[in-house]
Structure formats: C-alpha cells, structure tokens
C-alpha cells in the first residue's frame, strides 16, 4: 500500500508551499483582491512560466507536463492554504478539465496548449444559483445551419469577467448538454462582474442573447453528453475539496499559533481544555478531509487514464466535498472564535479565510447536496455498496446486482 505522496510528489508539494508562502502573502492578497481582475498579472505569469502548475495534468502533446491529479492536488491544496488569488481554479480545474474530457484532438491541441501557455479561461454552466441545483444547466442552444444560437444566463461564473476565453454550457433540442468555446469578448455576450463577500475569488454574471457560434466551437467529443459534464464538475469538485483541505490546515495552524501566544488568566489560552478540544476537532476534520481528497485524487487519475468509472468518480467527489465543505467552514468558525475580538477585525487575516470557506462551501454543491447525491446512489438504485473488501482496488461502487 502506497497511499502517500512519493518523492516527486512531495517535492512538488514542498515547492508549491514555499513559493506560495513567499508570494501569496497577506499584503499581496489584500493588494489584489479589490482590483478588477482580482489577481496580480506578474504573479500569474510567474506561476505559468516558472512553476508551470497550470500545465501539470495536461497531456504532453499539448505542452503539458503529463502528470496526474495527485500532483495537481498537491499544489491546489497549497493554493487553498495560502489563499492564492489567481485564475488557476477557473482555467485548470474548470476549463481545462472540460476540454480534456469533451474536446476533439484538434480542440485540445489548440485550447489546452493555450492554457498551458498561460491563457486564462473558465466554465459557465449554472443558471439558477439556487441551492437546490448547483449544477443545473438551463441555457439553450439551437442548431442553425453550421452555427448554433445560444440564449441564457449564467450566474456566479468564477473569473467570468477576466477570462480570456469561456466555455459555455447549454442544452440542445434533445436536452443534452453541449459545451462551446467562446472568446471572452463576444458580440451577444454580456458580462457583468459581481461584487463578492469573498473577495479572493471573483465572480461574474454572463448573459447570452442570440449568441451566434460556429459549429466548430462546440466541444465535439461529448459522447455521453450529460455524464461527461458531471465528470467535469466532479473533477473540479475534487480540486475544490483539496483547496478546502489547505484552508482547514491553515486555519488550524493559525489557531494553534495564536492561542499559544495569547495570554489570559496568567497562562496561554491554548492550555485551556475548551480551546484544546476545539483544536483537536479541527485537526481531526483536516486529516479526515485530507484522506478523502487523496483518495479522490487517485480515483480521478484512474478516471482520466480510462481505467475508472464515472460512478466511482462521482462517489469520491461527493464524499470529499460533503466532508470538506462543512469541515472547512467549521474550522474557520472555530478559528475566528479562538481569536476573540481580533478575529472580528479587518486587519487580521482570519476573515479572509472565513469568507472563502463559506463561499467554497456552497460552490459546486454544499455538504447536504453531496450527501443527497450519495443517498441517491445508496438508496435509490439497485446497487450494492456493502461488502466490497475495504482495501481492495476493486470498484468502489460495487458490483451491480
């Protein structure tokens, strides 16, 4: 059993850690979070040229490094921990995964190479934003000769106002989901930046009205359209859960450091058991979340290598997100509480993490929604989950019976 980082993966993790500790400091976050794009172009350039993180799991044929999801998540976790403000999640976890799963060879050549070179992109799909349907696509597309006409709204699009190109999801006449590659500045597409409580991640509302797109912009390798789309979101969800683990770790570290220094009643507050037990629960949530994310990373690798199933990907993603969403927020809430009054100030960084934790909790589905997804797999279909050997590599979802 080697359910741990190998040496190369450890190196990737460590270099990400030290780079971000250095570059994504409190001052730099605060400097960029209130700007239009929400990130620092020089830092993004340095990530893309020196660190090459945007290319980690992209195929070598497209200028990528050809590594896997485990390596990607080793870095993503650190981005959450250091609250990196950059179009990484949108470009890589959302857009690149969509192209990877749905693009033709030539589309991959063109667009994944663009991402590998540092072009920014995002995926717009959710039209409702209501808590019932975090992955609900309602925009419509209609074929019109060798074009498609697209109509609909997209809410909460991550980096929607700053991305150089976009992938828009829409339902066709058969109700199947289709994905289209669109330039960030297109006639017929209205883009409106939305002010966000979590300023470390920017969002926008997009409106397509009779947006006319050549048929060649459709990602054409969508054989089983709806399943592939959930696989895209599942991959993104796993990356988000990794960020949440990073958040949890940082919140724990901040809490332990602060309570170790702060003296009341003539002793460090960390010596009070009420504080220690809160910290112990934070560590439990963090480590358990980490286990879930590492596991999901392995499952994502299997899926991307063509040896896994979309069911096991969905299950692993929902397990990770169900655990990490609530846990990251709880860690943030506890950390704030342990800071007392200073935790309530703008000056201390706790609120940045607290707000990111709440926004991430609901983005791509909150814990209750992912639990319901698991409940559906578990209770509503004739599927046998139980009695698969715990440590076998056999399918998690179990044999159909």
């Amino acid at each position: 059993m080697e359910f741990a980082f190998n040496e190369e993966q450890l190196m990737i993790q460590e270099s990400a850690e030290s780079f971000l500790r250095d570059k994504s400091t409190s001052e730099s976050i605060r400097r960029v979070m209130d700007t239009d794009t929400g990130y620092c172009p020089e830092l993004w350039q340095s990530i893309c040229q020196d660190m090459y993180w945007q290319a980690i799991h992209l195929p070598e044929s497209c200028g990528g490094m050809g590594l896997g999801y485990v390596e990607l998540l080793a870095v993503t976790e650190q981005m959450g921990r250091y609250l990196l403000c950059a179009p990484f999640f949108s470009s890589v976890a959302l857009a690149a995964n969509a192209i990877l799963l749905a693009g033709s060879e030539s589309q991959k050549q063109c667009y994944l190479s663009a991402i590998a070179e540092g072009k920014t992109a995002t995926l717009a799909y959710s039209s409702s934003g209501s808590s019932q349907s975090f992955n609900h696509v309602v925009a419509r597309c209609v074929a019109d000769g060798d074009h498609y006409i697209l109509n609909g709204d997209y809410q909460h699009v991550i980096d929607g106002a700053s991305s150089e190109f976009l992938i828009l999801a829409a339902r066709d006449e058969q109700d199947d989901i289709q994905l289209f590659l669109v330039d960030g500045m297109s006639a017929g597409l209205e883009v409106q930046a939305l002010p966000t409580m979590d300023q470390t991640r920017h969002r926008a509302r997009l409106s397509a009205s009779n947006l006319r797109l050549p048929a060649s912009t459709r990602l054409s390798q969508f054989d089983n359209a709806n399943t592939a789309f959930s696989a895209v979101l599942d991959l993104a969800t796993i990356a988000l859960a990794a960020e949440q683990v990073g958040l949890m770790q940082q919140l724990l570290d901040m809490a332990v450091a602060y309570t170790g220094e702060r003296q009341q009643f003539n002793r460090p507050i960390a010596s009070f058991q009420a504080i220690k037990h809160m910290a112990a629960d934070m560590m439990l949530r963090t480590e358990v979340g980490r286990s879930a994310v590492y596991y999901a990373a392995c499952i994502a690798d299997e899926y991307l290598a063509g040896t896994g199933t979309s069911e096991s990907l969905a299950e692993a993603a929902s397990i990770a997100k169900a655990w990490c969403s609530e846990s990251a927020f709880k860690n943030a809430a506890d950390c704030l509480q342990m800071h007392g009054g200073v935790g309530f100030t703008w000056e201390y960084d706790v609120h940045l993490f607290f707000k990111r934790a709440k926004a991430s909790e609901h983005f791509l589905g909150n814990s209750a929604q992912h639990r319901e997804r698991i409940a559906t797999m578990l209770l509503d279909e004739k599927r046998l989950f139980g009695n698969t050997p715990l440590f076998s590599d056999k399918k998690l979802v179990g044999a159909e019976k």
């Binding site: 010596s271 910290a279 480590e287 358990v288 879930a292 715990l390 076998s392």
Partner: protein
C-alpha cells in the same frame, strides 16, 4: 500514490477466505456474527473451541514472529486477515487480549522464559487473558493505580492487594496482566510493576458487573494477598508504566483496522432496515445514512494513509485521530439505527431484556467513546501530542 494491493496480497485474501468458509460450519455455524460488541458474553465455551480451530489452521497470532509460532504477516496482510474474518461473520475473538495485547507485550518486553511459558497457550487458543488496568480511582487517570505489590522475601513471591474494575472477560480468563504499585511511596507513573497473574487462585475474586445491556461482560477483580511468581513480572519493578504504555500502542494498532468490515456489515443492516421501513424517503434520515456511508468510506482512507506510514507499523501523528474518529462514527451509527426505528426502537426482542442486534449496537456503542481512552482524553492527546499545545497542570 497507489490504491492497489499486490497479487500476493490478493492471493492471501483468497487463502484466508476459503479457510474460513471451509471451517466456519458444522458445530461452529451458530457462532456466525456472534460474540461481537454487545454480545461478548455469549457462547464462551464454543468460542474457545473456535479459537482452537483457528489455531489448528495457524490463524491465531498472525502478526507474531515465526520464531514464536506466528505468521509474521505484513501489515497489509494483517488487515486483510481481519477484514476477511469479519466479512465471513466469524465470531468475536475470545483470544484477542492474549493475541493482540498480552502476547505482543511479552514479545516486546518479556524474558525468554516468559515467552516460553505464556506464548504457546495463547497460540494454541487454550489460554485466555484479561487486562487489569482500571481501578475505581484510576480510569482516565490510569497512573493513579493503588493496587499494591509487595515482594515477600520468605516465599520469594509478589503479594498483591487491591481492586481492579471493568475487567472484560475476567470470568472467562486464565491469566490477567495487572499494573500495580511496587513502591508504596511512589505516585503517578513511577514505581509501578507489570504482573502476569494466574486467575485461578484463592487470593483473586471475580464479581461480574451488570452492564447497560443487562448482560455482564466486565467484572470487578479483587486481590487479597494474591500471589505472583518472582519470574512473572515484565520489566523491572518500577518499569511497569513503560510496559503498559507500550501495550496501549498495540491496542491502537492494526487489529482495529479490521473492524471496519464489521462496521460495514452493521451499516448494511441499517440501510436494509431503512429501505424496508420506507425511512429511505425521509430527507433528514437520507442525510444521516449518506453521512454514515461517507464516514465509513473515509475511515478506510484514513487507515490506508496510516498503513502507508512506517513499514514497521509505527503510526504517524495523523493516526492520533483514529480512535476519536471511529468511536464517534460507531456511536452515531447506533443512534441512527434507533432513529430509523422510531418508536419501535423501544420494543424489545423478547422477555428478559432481550435486545435486538441494533438495540445492542445502540447501547454498546456508548462504550466505544469511553474505553481505550475516552473521547475527551483522545482530544487531549491530539492537542498535546499532535499539535504541541501546552499540557494542563496536574492538581497537587
């Protein structure tokens, strides 16, 4: 990072699975799924017979070195063994305290003579052990034991006086390992000894304690001039704490990983129940069922990380969360089972306080968060050892 087992490990899985299938039948068939948590008082004689059957097949003490009759299994294969054992529904191990606690302690700290004297009986499934740690005044604060051991020069033996409590299966045991104070002036961790004691002697009285379930699995054990041979102290007098702590390391080790398969059996039963009662349509219960499933899956991923730690089975810092995590999960499962039953949860299976399996689960899992270090003690350990937070001062 890899998820798979080697082909040799999978072959080993087949070997133990088929042995269990061929042997857990006939006179042993009635033991299936019996003797587990909440049911440990049932079928003691038959389960002792089963231990001897296991021994014949070479399936006791699988982690022990070959030199002492064990199989010296790798950690992975030990886990596979425990998994297949639980999956087959093989009965709760009467021998587990000897196999998993007494034996490894004697192997690690005992003399060659102690190994020769005690290990064969454990290995053969003929001699059973219990753990004499807790006392009325020494629970979480284990170092507060008051039982005294005095060396009697005339007879050349140790003489013990005092009382142990909550001693599981003492009434079915041949031996007990006991921590007692060898230095009457000492306090806390200093001045303790670790004794291997024969239960069948005039100086030891065992009195069963009725549990929350109405049954008795643990006992009070009284020592009134109980005798222990000079050769039967493990480590030097005064080193008992070190030996006892080494043992707790074993207690939190690999064998608990195998219990996840038994947990899966229980969860399957709870899910089946929910479906049969239509509780699977209740949105709040669906959430909790999904949460139980998620919790058990991640428990497995946690263990996979722990297993990937030191090849010697040493556990990393993260492993500190394991007991708190599984105990809380298991206790929640018991509550979920009752909440699915609703008012029916209150109706017993029969007269004489006969509990259904799930009622038993509900009641017995309250102990998971108490024995082996309570949840609160686990949180202290996590905070102090895992996070380096300051220790609380002991009141003087």
């Amino acid at each position: 990072m890899k998820l798979s087992f080697t082909p040799e490990d999978e072959q080993f899985r087949g070997e133990i699975a088929s042995w269990l299938q061929e042997n857990l039948c006939g006179e042993f068939a009635e033991l299936k799924f019996r003797g587990g948590p909440g049911d440990e008082h049932m079928f003691p004689e038959q389960r002792k017979g089963w231990e001897q059957k296991l021994a014949e097949g070479g399936w006791t003490c699988v982690s022990w070195p070959k030199q002492y009759g064990g199989r010296e299994l790798s950690i992975e294969q030990q886990v596979i063994f425990y998994e297949e054992y639980a999956r087959a529904g093989a009965p709760g191990r009467m021998g587990h305290i000897g196999d998993g606690l007494a034996g490894p302690t004697i192997l690690a700290f005992g003399t060659e003579a102690q190994k020769q004297k005690y290990l064969p009986g454990i290995l053969a499934g003929t001699e059973f052990w219990c753990q004499g740690y807790s006392e009325p005044g020494a629970g979480s604060d284990l170092a507060n034991v008051k039982t005294k051991a005095r060396f009697d020069e005339a007879s050349g033996k140790w003489i013990l006086n005092g009382q142990k409590v909550w001693t599981s299966l003492a009434h079915e045991s041949d031996y007990c390992f006991v921590i007692a104070r060898t230095d009457p002036e000492s306090s806390a961790h200093k001045g303790l000894g670790f004794f291997l004691m024969k239960m069948d002697q005039p100086g030891i009285t065992v009195r069963p304690i009725e549990q929350i379930t109405g049954t008795s699995e643990f006992n009070e054990v009284f020592f009134d001039d109980a005798v222990c041979d000079a050769d039967d102290i493990v480590g030097a007098p005064g080193e008992g704490w070190k030996v006892a702590m080494g043992l707790l390391g074993f207690e939190r080790g690999v064998s608990t990983l195998g219990q996840q398969m038994a947990f899966q059996n229980e969860l399957d039963e709870v899910i089946k129940l929910a479906k049969s009662r239509g509780a699977d349509r209740d949105p709040a219960l669906r959430q909790r069922i999904a949460q139980a499933h998620i919790g058990l899956k991640i428990m497995r991923y946690n263990s996979m990380r722990m297993l990937s730690g030191g090849a010697d089975g040493s556990l990393q810092k993260e492993a500190l969360i394991y007991k708190l995590y599984w105990a809380s999960w298991h206790r929640d499962l018991g509550e979920l089972a009752m909440d699915i039953l609703g008012e029916d949860a209150d109706i017993l299976a029969g007269e004489n306080y006969e509990l259904s399996r799930l009622q038993s689960l509900f009641l017995f899992t309250r102990s998971d968060t108490i024995y082996g270090g309570t949840n609160e003690i686990q949180r202290n350990i996590i905070a102090e050892r895992g996070l380096g937070m300051p220790r609380e001062k002991r009141a003087s």
